[in-house]
Symmetry: C2
Subunit: 424 residues, 2 copies
């Protein structure tokens, strides 16, 4: 009898399934889990590439040909899609192993699913990509994909303590992903480190980019910091972490300056809400007509709000967004390469009937800027908090390479992970 | 025995089905036709609204809950979708009767389906919304919806001699429509007159807008004309029609000026091609991997072309588009309310293994400008030609109201329709 030695990829995959066996009952990250044997067979025989054998969870609003999709609902169900959504197909082609569909809130809005925060089961994991963030945080998957319309990647990444990446608007195709608000919907992902995050970016864009910079690169970086927005709540521990990060970057980079423009950002938050409501009401027309009573109050409310908005008001909102982006590009973003700002008001909210507030994410989603959440600290209740890096429009590669440099600083170590260390 | 008098809506619907019975064998506009009895029952019992009883054909790349979708392919097939695509749901809610799925080219690119030009069965109807344009032109449907990524609404509208409308980019949700190139894909429709076109815009935006202007409005309109782009072919009859239209507008409007900027528009055409290829190759990943041999040479070529384009080249193309839009907004579009330009090089191309060239539509699709094709003339072979009106970004209402004024001019009468006059 010959002893087989398991390949590192198979070991990682088995570790993930073992963690699921131990934790899924409590965490509830998956809507559907692919049978272990099937995943292992795919790992042994599937295509090899940038992501060979990497276990990845797929948010339940992405079409998949080999797993069911139900969009976080009880009334829509497709046993298998005719085609994989574009991002899923790109990851699969690069060798990723899709281990399951992760829980989404109802149609990716605010009504929670079954997922709990792996750091504290009494707290929300954040939304709408709840299952994806929780699965990665808990070591049930090495990475997972999600989507953001308000704050649905950055918020759960912050609450669960993982790296969360929302690329620039429209940079990665969202074909085969349930739409909510065309101007805002952006696909992205969760990982346990920046390196994996960059690997997924390469797979999604079908190119191997060099995001590793020389150590000296940090010294030339220019950073702006938006510590808080007046009249928007912010917990002391997040403020303290931001200030500490600010001073650390001030010492290590070419220029770090604080910006204050609360009035503009407050207006951008309202403009984001207007566009999201208007577009949702013209997008989820079928669902609202036939499943209004099963949608959840939050979704009914935003669709009714949006239905009351007229075309001229919506066009004014779009025009304000365009104007603000133009202005910011020629001011703050002319003086800096990246921006730091709060990801969330504070630690994950207590309770499972809320998903927390995406308010600090709304401006960046509206402006289509790439955002990368780094889980670098803990709040006063021991829950993860962190710092998002926000890049210039379409400068995702610069953002990723900046992040790879920044996490080399002692204060930016990623400290929030639980579960097994399941990297290769 | 009591004689039932048919309602006008039922009469229109029956007229359409009668026309289908006579012509469909030759024209081949439909991929799927809803049974007459079912359509009549819906017309009798369905919701009443802006489009009560209006027969509408749906391009085969739009999801529908009551009709199959196969995206112009032989390898993808869904008997019914979980939800109607957003535009379909909005039209249905407004009382439209969806009579069938109209033929699309393969995945809405250049490989033709079975549809022939109703004016001359030896000629192409244009693409990719071939069936929609042909059905409306031939009186088999009162309206039909389609989509445009290069010139897939305006070109078939021109070749078939119907009104074709491509709204501003992102103004009407494209959720539930097969994606090709996110930055370019735009849903739109074909009608037999401008009034119906405006009705569909109202239904799609869920508001009744007043697009009827006083007759005097024409006298305040400012028009720019781009008669041709150097080095891009243009047939004499289209050039002659444009010049005639130019002089007619010069007499009737406040200002009509010719613009010449061939170098910019040539560059925009190439930029559109680059973005379309890059995005298609990152969007149709599943289809290319599994159905490459059934896709058609045209589709394989563009995906391979796009796969060779790197991220920086793509980003440069997007930046050039943004810069050009900014510049044009502050120059030509600052001096005029609408622009006229060629829709197509000439009349519908002879032969059914080509769909004609969308070259003159590419710049406007790239820039996201609303375009409305008016079928106002005939070419030297007796086939329809016409004039597109191009509006400023997001000024779709202004474009529709301008068109309603312009078609009151003798030279702008819509002269190309065949089939029964099936308006109410």
């Amino acid at each position: 009898m010959k002893m087989h030695q398991l390949s590192p990829a198979i070991t990682t995959l088995k570790n993930c399934y073992e963690r699921v066996a131990v934790r899924e009952n409590e965490v509830g990250a998956f809507q559907y889990l692919k049978p272990t044997a099937q995943a292992i067979a795919e790992c042994e025989k599937g295509p090899k590439g940038l992501l060979s054998g990497m276990p990845i969870g797929i948010k339940d609003i992405f079409d998949t040909t080999d797993m069911p999709t139900q969009w976080g609902t009880s009334y829509l169900y497709s046993p298998k899609s005719q085609a994989d959504s574009s991002l899923v197909a790109s990851l699969r082609k690069a060798g990723a192993i899709l281990i399951g569909k992760t829980v989404s809130t109802k149609l990716a809005y605010f009504t929670p699913g079954k997922t709990r925060n792996p750091h504290d089961l009494k707290r929300t994991p954040g939304a709408s990509s709840s299952g994806s963030a929780a699965a990665v945080a808990d070591g049930m998957s090495r990475a997972a994909i999600g989507s953001q319309t308000a704050g649905s990647i950055i918020r759960p990444a912050s609450f669960c303590g993982v790296v969360g990446f929302k690329p620039s608007a429209d940079l990665i195709p969202s074909s085969g992903v349930k739409a909510f608000s065309k101007s805002l919907d952006t696909v992205g992902w969760f990982t346990r480190n920046i390196h994996d995050c960059a690997l997924l970016f390469d797979a999604a864009t079908q190119r191997q980019h060099n995001t590793d910079l020389p150590k000296s690169a940090l010294a030339t970086l220019r950073v702006n910091a938006l510590i808080e927005i007046e009249n928007i709540p912010l917990d002391n521990d997040v403020r303290a972490l931001l200030k500490k990060s600010f001073y650390t970057l001030k010492k290590a980079t070419a220029r770090t300056a604080e910006i204050q423009e609360s009035q503009l950002f407050c207006k951008l938050i309202n403009v984001q809400k207007c566009i999201m409501a208007y577009e949702a009401s013209r997008t989820l027309v079928h669902e609202f007509q036939f499943y209004k009573n099963s949608m959840g109050k939050e979704l009914v409310d935003i669709i009714q709000l949006g239905a009351a908005i007229d075309l001229p008001e919506y066009l004014d909102a779009l025009a304000f967004r365009d104007h603000a982006l133009h202005t910011l590009t020629h001011t703050f973003f002319n003086q800096a390469d990246i921006l730091i700002a709060p990801s969330t008001i504070g630690e994950a909210t207590v309770g499972l009937n809320t998903t927390g507030d995406p308010v600090y994410c709304r401006p960046w989603t509206l402006l289509g800027l790439p955002c990368l959440h780094l889980p670098t600290g803990k709040g006063s209740h021991g829950m993860p908090i962190g710092i998002p890096l926000i890049g210039k429009p379409k400068e995702d590669l610069k953002l990723l390479s900046s992040a790879l440099s920044i996490v080399q600083l002692e204060d930016f170590k990623l400290t929030c992970l639980t579960g097994e260390a399941n990297e290769h």
